[in-house]
């Protein structure tokens, strides 16, 4: 447990000297800023929320999280430092969870920055529902946790950074598309109850929409937490399997 935090702290710190992380942050702030400007100027009487802005942030993250996760394990593998970690008194899961946690905390930093800036602006010029704003950001944080956990699988599969990123991107996009596919499936079997429920549960974006409308349901948490848990478990097994090969 202690080792996990030490690794998380190092990875968190590493993002602040990484140009890739700055590029991700730049793009995120730019696009959210543009969309905020567009929505709020085009529809001056729109409600003081961040629905559209955070929805677009989610799309940006879908493409950008693999860039944040690609080096996490691939770099250790490439430079041989994985050998150092695995021959030290450190468990494989502590490495994997620590790395993921470092990345997640970094993205939380970005979210808190957004929350602070736009929260202030909305407060100054409108009358926002702070409850909905809070659940929206928490929802986005959960989505990020899931996307990062999926991305780290790619990083465990190969020691090549570009390869790791492409694998992560593929997994992210597949899961995203899978949600749409499930919607179609649900349409075909509109009379069967459990198909409806299953398709609803497996939809990556619908859970975020619940958070964004201020709903704080355990099923939505469970969805993202289960993705995180399965991905991190799988990644741990992949890291362990490297030494058994």
């Amino acid at each position: 447990m202690r080792n996990m935090w030490i690794i998380a702290r190092r990875e968190y710190g590493h993002y602040f000297i990484s140009p890739i992380a700055y590029a991700v942050a730049f793009l995120l702030f730019l696009i959210v800023g543009i969309i905020f400007g567009l929505i709020k100027t085009q529809a001056p009487n729109a409600p003081a929320d961040l629905q559209g802005e955070l929805g677009s942030a989610m799309t940006i993250f879908l493409f950008m999280t693999p860039a944040l996760t690609m080096r996490l394990l691939a770099d250790e593998q490439r430079s041989g430092t994985m050998e150092l970690l695995l021959t030290g008194p450190i468990r494989a899961w502590e490495i994997v969870v620590g790395k993921w946690l470092g990345a997640w905390l970094f993205t939380w930093t970005l979210l808190l920055f957004l929350a602070f800036v736009y929260g202030s602006v909305l407060t100054a010029y409108g009358n926002p529902d702070y409850g909905v704003l809070t659940t929206s950001f928490i929802g986005l944080g959960m989505v990020l946790g899931a996307l990062l956990a999926l991305g780290i699988i790619g990083s465990a599969v190969t020691s090549n950074l570009v390869g790791a990123m492409i694998i992560g991107l593929t997994i992210n996009l597949f899961l995203w598309m899978f949600g749409f596919a499930m919607e179609a499936v649900a349409g075909w079997f509109s009379t069967i109850d459990w198909v409806q429920k299953f398709s609803q549960y497996m939809n990556f974006t619908s859970h975020l929409e619940n958070f964004q409308s201020g709903v704080f349901a355990s099923i939505d948490f469970a969805f993202y937490v289960s993705i995180i848990a399965v991905s991190l478990y799988l990644t741990t097994r992949l890291v362990e399997s490297r030494r058994w090969r």
Binding site: I6, L86, T87, G88, P89, R243, W244
Partner: protein, 311 residues
């Protein structure tokens, strides 16, 4: 401290190491010698718990590396062959980070002390990416000894160092060997001779010799092995040599050539051999000291290994 029994590792059909059994006690420095690809790195990776073995057992400081891996790993300091470093860190940051992961007590002081030991104190603030090969090697070594391990496993710690750095590193290993068990691999015999209590020579995944440097040297190095070639049939001469009780070994190389192992001790026995040959009516064609290098020692050991296997 290190106890290895019947260790084998197979990669599919290929046998990387085969039935290794050896041990290293506290305060011993054991040199692990062999040409590239002999199985040194594989063995070390198994010993440090990085890889599993196909069969066999490894005990480190009283803990089974497979069953009590985490405990065993606490007592190991390991310097892998390619010196794994985080390029983006400063020297002290790197040591501090690894010390933290290994729960080193009084970390700050210990990091200072270790940097002093490897002579990197003045480069503490340098980024690792800016260091030379020799310095990187020393930082790697610092990392291995940081937590004062009972067992130190070093994979070719002197590779890429200049002669002075090499001497310093060997001196450091000798110093460290007083408090812990050191197993280090090299393919340079003289290095191993300089500091080891015992040498293990490995080839094709098998131990072909295990002895103290002095004994191995007496067994194998130049000046004490001579090649004798005579004209004509030499069966009788073989009998004559066998009659000499002070010879350490006799080997027939071809029909009329022999390799004789002479005892150490300073006295040159070559005139006596020459006299013996001539006085018994043989014509001496060649009497030559064999200057063996490590490559020849391997070849010779493998040859005798194969012969032993054939019988």
């Amino acid at each position: 401290m290190i106890k290895v029994e019947g260790l084998s590792k197979h990669y599919g059909q290929r046998i990387a190491i085969n039935d290794l059994t050896f041990h290293a006690d506290k305060g011993e420095i054991v040199g692990f010698l062999g040409p590239n690809g002999a199985g040194k790195t594989t063995t070390m990776r198994i010993l440090t718990g990085y890889m599993p073995a196909t069969t066999g057992s490894v005990n480190i400081a009283g803990f089974d590396i497979f069953k009590e891996s985490l405990e065993a790993r606490r007592h190991i300091g390991y310097l892998p062959e390619n010196v794994p470093l985080y390029e983006d860190m400063k020297v002290w940051q790197y040591l501090d980070y690894l010390g933290d992961l290994r729960s080193v007590p009084n970390r700050g002081e210990r990091v200072e002390a270790v940097m002093g030991l490897v002579g990197m104190t003045d480069r503490a603030e340098s980024f690792i990416s800016s260091l030379s090969k020799g310095m990187r090697q020393r930082v790697g070594l610092a990392q291995a000894i940081l937590h004062q391990p009972k067992v130190l496993i070093l994979d070719e710690p002197t590779v890429g160092l200049d002669p002075i750095q090499k001497r310093d590193v060997l001196e450091l290993i000798r110093e460290l060997g007083k408090d812990c068990t050191v197993l280090f691999s090299t393919h340079i015999l003289s290095e191993a001779q300089a500091i080891c209590n015992r040498l293990l020579i490995i080839n094709n995944g098998q131990i072909v010799a295990e002895d103290s440097p002095e004994k191995l040297q007496r067994r194998m190095t130049g000046g004490e092995r001579v090649k004798v070639s005579v004209a004509g049939d030499a069966d009788g001469l073989m009998q004559l040599f066998k009659g000499l009780s002070w010879l350490d070994g006799i080997r027939s190389v071809s029909g009329n050539s022999f390799e004789l192992d002479l005892p150490g001790g300073g006295k040159d026995m070559r005139p006596a051999i020459a006299r013996l040959v001539v006085e018994n009516g043989y014509e001496l064609l060649e009497l030559r000291s064999m200057d063996l290098n490590l490559e020849q020692i391997y070849l010779q050991l493998i040859r005798s290994d194969a012969e032993a296997g054939a019988h």
